[in-house]
């Protein structure tokens, strides 16, 4: 039996057959298909990082070695992180100690700011009189660069470490006050009406309605505060000295060890990123499906 072959064999291909992208071709391969979402998530950031490394290498080449490239920085970092917790006197300690000291100061200043700022924010949000009373002072002090408070801290505490903690405190307290207060003001009237109809006690209103309703705003404040605090600590430690990432950067500048400065930049970035992500995760947990 002879079947007439279609004469149109050499006609152009149907239009639908667009050039297939490599990812789509992968997706069509059955055993590779589950990997596709992973690839989609991983490929762009990896490409971005590679581009960054390339640019860095290029700049370092052009600077004729005065800016170290990725390779020598990596080698230096491996050496540095091989023994992160050595101690050779107060001015020469491992990178681990420097990170921990900086984190400790941020934690102290930030924690105290939370202890003061969050209750204060609650009161400002709840009582209009207090809000109007504190508004001029807050508006005046908030735009001041946190480092401008450093001399005051040195004057009062007569020591470097409490002074940097003080700077962290003052820089992270504003976002916490303002966001908590905004959160309390944004509690929907409906929830408060429920409280009124049920005649809930002040304490119950606070724990069952105000606190959970304000939590997402409060955590936004905390996130902003931790971001600022981490920005500020490096600068504050550069000025005060001691042990800490900021001091270490300055010390390595004096030693002209540029690799270490670059490493410090990455470490500061990485720790900041981790802090931020931890708080984003926490905020998501606390939002109860509300829009935030």
């Amino acid at each position: 039996m002879t079947v007439a072959k279609p004469v149109a064999a050499n006609l152009p291909l149907p239009r639908r057959r667009k050039p297939v992208s490599p990812v789509a071709r992968l997706a069509a391969t059955p055993w590779l298909a589950p990997l596709v979402p992973l690839l989609r998530a991983v490929v762009p950031p990896v490409l971005g990082l590679l581009a960054f490394l390339l640019l860095w290498t290029l700049v370092s080449q052009l600077s004729k070695g005065s800016l170290p490239g990725p390779v020598s920085t990596w080698a230096s970092a491996r050496e540095l992180f091989a023994d992160p917790f050595y101690q050779n006197g107060p001015n020469d300690q491992g990178i681990g100690w420097n990170i921990l000291m900086s984190l400790g100061r941020v934690g102290m200043g930030f924690g105290m700011a939370a202890l003061v700022g969050i209750p204060l924010g609650f009161m400002i949000g709840r009582f209009d009189f207090l809000a109007r009373m504190t508004a001029p002072v807050i508006s005046l002090l908030r735009p001041v660069s946190p480092l401008a408070w450093l001399p005051i801290g040195l004057l009062v505490f007569k020591a470097a470490s409490p002074a940097s903690i003080w700077v962290i405190f003052i820089s992270s307290i504003w976002p916490m006050i303002l966001n908590t207060a905004a959160g309390v003001r944004a509690v929907p009237q409906d929830y408060l009406n429920v409280a009124r109809v049920l005649r809930l006690s002040e304490w119950k209103v606070f724990t069952v309605i105000l606190l959970p309703a304000t939590l997402p705003h409060m955590l936004t404040g905390v996130r902003l505060a931790v971001g600022t605090a981490w920005l500020v600590i490096v600068a504050a430690e550069m000025l005060t000295g001691g042990v800490g990432l900021g001091f270490w950067v300055w010390d390595e500048w004096n030693n002209l060890n540029v690799e270490h400065i670059l490493i410090a930049i990455f470490v500061v970035g990485l720790v900041g990123l981790l802090l931020e992500q931890a708080l984003v995760w926490l905020a998501k947990k606390a939002s109860f499906g509300q829009e935030n």
Partner: protein, 263 residues
Amino acid sequence: MDRFVELENIRKHFDTKKGRFVALQDVNLTIRQGEFVSLIGHSGCGKSTVLNIIAGLLDPSDGIALCNGREIDGPGPERAVVFQNHSLLPWLSCYGNILLAVERVFGARESKLQLAARTEEALALVGLQHARDKHPHEISGGMKQRVGIARALAMEPKVLLMDEPFGALDALTRANLQDEMVKIVDQTGSTVVMVTHDVDEAVLLSDRIVMMTNGPAATVGEILPVNLPRPRNRLALASDPAYHACRSAVLDFLYQKHKREVA
């Protein structure tokens, strides 16, 4: 009790930036125990204001508001409110939302076990046992409103106040909930005041329909008794001339006598 809720010469004004706005004037209304009364009127006629005054969420500027022979002084659980937008607390489960109300009303007198039983019972009344541990954002609008109703009913209020309880729902869900409401009201014999702008809903559920004139200075225009036998059935009513007579009376009031100019 014939005069269970009593409003006498109620007047309510709001002081706004543009001067005083008189929302209600000379509102007189008495509601019997076990009666289902609807407040109907065009939007902005102050029907929600009347409800909020009975709830105690608003104080009248003038006049007397009584419930069970006592002056209404602030809100309280004996006048439970079903809010238009359900007002469930998003961080509590359906069970938790109802339990919060139950605890507040009965917590001083009853054991934890009894409180839990009341909460379960309220969930069962609106058919939501299966959504017991869901949070409000995980359930549909109709289910949320049912939890709101269950929360209000669980408080065993003297008066149940509903502010356009089905207004935010789609037509089919609304009809379902209205039918459920018919059953619940027959079952519990609660005194109910409901604000609505849905004529069919008002006729289906009410013993009397209070029609309000347009604001400002709105007042009670007419009161229509709905003498349809209970239990009521949506389908049977559709061919009942008495039902249609009630319907046209309300429509006539709203669209003939007090037609609202299109803004």
